[in-house]
Amino acid sequence: MSRALLEVSGLCMRFGGLLAVNNVSLSVHEKEIVSVIGPNGAGKTTVFNCISGFYNPTQGTILFDGEEIAGLKGHKIARKGMVRTFQHVRLFKEMTVIENLLVAQHMHMNTNLMGGFLKTPAYRKSEQRAMENAAFWLDKVNLLEFANREAGNLAYGQQRRLEIARCMVTRPRLLMLDEPAAGLNPNETKELDQLICNLRDEFDVSILLIEHDMGLVMGISDQIAVINQGTPLASGTPAEIRDNPDVIKAYLGEE
């Protein structure tokens, strides 16, 4: 197998006396879907925050495409092609759906002030391209008819999809989804399942996923990592994880 796109090794995160993440290792290869599972409070989101630059990890290395990114600022990591969603939807609620997607493309746009004042052709072209890209992704997540609605007025499931579209317009290489199925009904979960597979197959993104919905996780993951109380418990293919006695114990408790 080729070199991993994301390679996390020996990751530790300490908050005062609490060791929230202890020696976690992960790797995501190109076009792979990797899931991180574990009981509530296991430290999955902390791992995410460390990787995406919202926390500065206490120890460990994080290589993205062979480059060390541990300790870099969140926006710099995003610019390298690694974007994330959040456990609680974080949209720009008072902006319209299309504007949410335009803001996300900020780093690809012509932000020259003079260009904007004078509406130069380069500026118009950049706006036009961003608009088209946004429309393309809205179509992908079936939100095109809501393009001019305020994002805060969308239904919950739609907001979740918009958040994914907002990540995708930035043309990422690695998409990190933090509990994307939380609060969705079974039907929407199934759609999400298809969408995630679609993103990987059509747009060549790798996906790192935190999820509690076992049906979804087992169905789409290539690799699964289990974390319990901040420490890695097991990792492997869905079939291996399903039969792992430690995992069953962590989830169901000891008999």
């Binding site: 959040f86 720009f92 902006m95 335009l102 780093m107 608009m131």
Partner: protein, 423 residues
């Protein structure tokens, strides 16, 4: 044929008017008077020949394009502001208001025009602070510091280096922006209340610096005799300071009237305000304007999408400060005298009150609030000592009844055209 005929006639008329004004009429000084002379016959012949050439060229433009490659004319659509056709009425209303504001001073009293000029300064300050507070959501209690920087920059430049108003104007804007940048760099990692306190401190530092740096700024005595702005080198005083120069009224051969100066200052302020309105209007539709809005709503999401929050905040702070710099430059030119007393904290508070009262982020609201807050105290002069009380009461009731301000912000939403693409 009509499609080329009308533009051709129009172009010919424009050429005729412009060239005859520029070449056909000569001004000559006889003694102390200026007299108008018509140019010689040969010049007039040349003018008519030129007009005919322009007419014929425009008439056969299409045929000529086939032979030689000519630059294309801009289409009308490309010059119209973006937006729907439904905005026509709005555009018309804006044009009407601007025209009224342009004509009004010639019929109003001198005092009223002077007051209006003051209101325009506050509009400019309000609009500038609106970028920082209303659009980017950063509470700035020391905005007056940038106003002071602009005012003192012009005053000191003209005092020590004899720099004219028009040269100083961009320098004032740039210097105020630089101060905004320098202050913003360390403090913008602070949030909300903490940022407010630091900016408050900064405002005081600038004022106290101006007060105590007596050698340069004159301390509490301030700087007086700051030259008024001129128009293409023509001054508005009775006698020109520079013997080579000619005052405005002599150049046009009209009697001296001090109200010309007042009207000119008003029109200049109006021009500055219009530029400010246009620039901010554009900014809110540009990527940077969207980034401000997004950052105000959720800075964590912004970071996760690759927007650098510090840079985005810093642009808001810097651009906002530069407008205060322009306003300050104009203020010192208009007053002719400035001292640190003009830049106390209450000024910051009034500007902030204008923004909050008008509706954060709303341009129209800020303009209305600035007019109300400057004109109302003047109108209520009869109530003497009660007027500040009334002013306070008005603010309290406004905030209870209309907490979003006079005209709540309605951001220009960019819309996806629902034409062929959307469906």
């Amino acid at each position: 044929m009509n499609r080329t005929l009308y533009p051709a006639i129009f172009a010919a008329i424009v050429t005729l008017i412009l060239t005859s004004m520029m070449l056909g009429i000569k001004l000559k000084t006889e003694g102390i008077n200026l007299t108008l002379h018509s140019a010689e016959g040969s010049t007039w012949t040349m003018i008519f020949v030129a007009t005919a050439v322009v007419f014929l060229f425009q008439l056969f433009r299409n045929q000529l394009t086939g032979l030689v490659k000519l630059p294309t004319l801009p289409t009308v659509e490309s010059m119209l502001p973006e937006g729907k056709k439904g905005d026509r009425i709005k555009t018309l209303a804006v044009c009407f208001i601007v025209a009224a504001a342009l004509i009004w001073p010639f019929y109003a009293s001198r005092g009223a025009v002077d007051l209006a000029t003051l209101a325009l300064i506050y509009i400019m300050l309000g609009l500038g602070l609106n970028i920082v507070v209303g659009l980017a959501g950063l509470l700035d209690l020391g905005y007056v510091a940038f106003y002071a920087v602009g005012a003192y920059t012009y005053a000191l430049l003209s005092l020590y280096y004899d720099v004219s108003f028009w040269v100083a104007l961009p320098i004032c804007g740039l210097l105020a922006a630089l101060f905004g940048f320098l202050l913003g760099f360390p403090v913008l990692r602070l949030r909300g209340d903490y940022l407010a306190i630091v900016t408050l401190g900064f405002g005081e530092i600038i004022r106290i610096l101006l007060l105590n740096w007596t050698d340069v700024t004159g301390g509490p005595n301030g700087i007086s005799r700051i030259p008024k702005p001129d128009i293409f080198g023509l001054e508005f005083s009775r006698r020109a300071k520079d013997p080579d120069n000619m005052p405005f009224h002599e150049f046009f051969g009209i009697a001296y009237d001090p109200s010309y100066k007042v009207i000119f200052l008003y029109l200049l302020a109006l021009l500055l305000v219009l530029v400010t309105v246009y620039v901010i209007n554009r900014l809110t539709r540009m990527p940077i304007g969207r980034a401000w809005e997004a950052l105000r709503e959720d800075d964590i999401a912004c970071r996760s999408l690759g927007l650098n929050p510090t840079v985005v905040k810093l642009t808001a702070f810097t651009i906002g400060a530069s407008f205060a710099g322009f306003a300050g430059c104009f203020f010192s030119a208009r007053q002719g005298f400035i001292s640190p007393e003009s830049f106390v904290f209450i000024e910051s508070a009034i500007i902030l009150a204008i923004v909050v009262l008008g509706g954060m982020g709303s341009q129209l609201g800020v303009i209305l609030a600035a007019i109300i807050l400057t004109v109302l105290p003047e109108l209520a002069r009869e109530f003497q000592e009660y007027r500040m009380l009334m002013f306070g009461l008005l603010m309290v009731f406004m905030m209870i009844w209309k907490p979003q301000g006079l005209v709540p912000m309605k951001r220009p939403h960019l819309e996806l055209s629902t034409g062929d693409k959307a469906k």
